[in-house]
Symmetry: C2
Subunit: 200 residues, 2 copies
């Protein structure tokens, strides 16, 4: 337990809490008061830490995400599970107008969404928020995002196919959530460069 | 005040709180207990609401962002101000290794970053988080993000040039923060479509 703490960078008290809450599977008992932990425990602790610290998820959401990883029956399901368990912030339902714009974008790009996919709703709400502050998003920019992501998504999803289902599900969660700060940082770097070019 | 509340969707108590905190400029006094508010007040309230509800910013950060809008002297400064005032989550400094990888990526893409730009640090920390969970990001994928963003950033930054400095600064904040949920939703839609294609 002490070694697990030093290698994960978490305190013993935090690890015990995760054990009690069922976020971390119990170790193998070796005597009345000792248990043995292996690399899978360390990996799980690092994932929990990244989901809370980097992705900023609350512990209830982390639990749902981890349950999804454990339950996925196939690789495609694992990706889907990672997606549906990670709702975007905001509570107001998307407007009909914005949902219609999302549908039209899907038609133009040749994409579709499965039943129960939360993404149309999430995108619709994001469009509503821009309408609210009177900076509506143009269809041109929406289509530019879609066009930019198509080749990148191919690379991203190919990277998630890690062999066994549990590893793939974990990779899908990491790829969805922990790559988001990368994506947003690269976007700001690109903006800074374009902005400076124009500012000259 | 009552009209401002109904048109912004905020309560009178909340608006009074924003006035006291200096987030909303005072209205024009018309008598001892009445003040007149105009469209600029309504726009400011909608922006505060979007920054808290959609972008999930704490009120202290909203204040810094709004101060940056007010103080920007030029359009390029406004974009820069929007960027530097919006730190990414996480507190641990980026590792030397990851910062070197960011430098190398900038070299490959022909980009550079200004003094005081927080983006190299933010990207470095995001790369560290992926290393921690033993899913390091490949340079191929990092370069793919950079390549995908270049043309999109041109469109995004062109959209921010709104004439006067204050409007441009506001547009830069909106474009940085409120477009992020759009970007991430479109990314997930692209992933879902690629994943389903591969799952067949």
């Amino acid at each position: 337990m002490a070694e697990l703490a030093s290698r994960s960078g978490l305190t013993v008290a935090t690890i015990k809490y995760y054990l009690r809450e069922g976020l971390l599977p119990p170790g193998e008992a070796v005597g009345a008061t000792r248990a043995r932990y292996d690399d899978s425990h360390l990996r799980r602790l690092r994932l929990i830490r990244a989901l809370t610290d980097v992705a900023g998820l609350r512990l209830e959401v982390v639990r749902e995400v981890l349950d999804g990883i454990g339950r996925a029956g196939s690789w495609h399901e694992a990706v889907g599970s990672a997606h549906t368990r990670l709702p975007f912030p905001g509570t107001r339902p998307a407007s009909e107008t914005s949902l219609a714009r999302v549908e039209a974008m899907l038609d133009r790009t040749g994409w579709s969404l499965g039943h129960g996919s939360p993404h149309a709703e999430a995108l619709g709400r994001a469009l509503d928020a821009l309408d609210d502050v009177q900076h509506p998003l143009s269809d041109d920019l929406l289509d530019a995002y879609a066009e930019a992501w198509q080749p990148v998504a191919e690379l991203e999803v190919a990277g998630v196919d890690a062999g066994d289902v549990e590893s793939s599900a974990e990779a899908a969660v990491v790829g969805t959530l922990l790559l988001e700060p990368v994506v947003l940082a690269v976007r700001r770097i690109a903006q800074e460069n374009v902005s400076r070019e124009r500012g000259r």
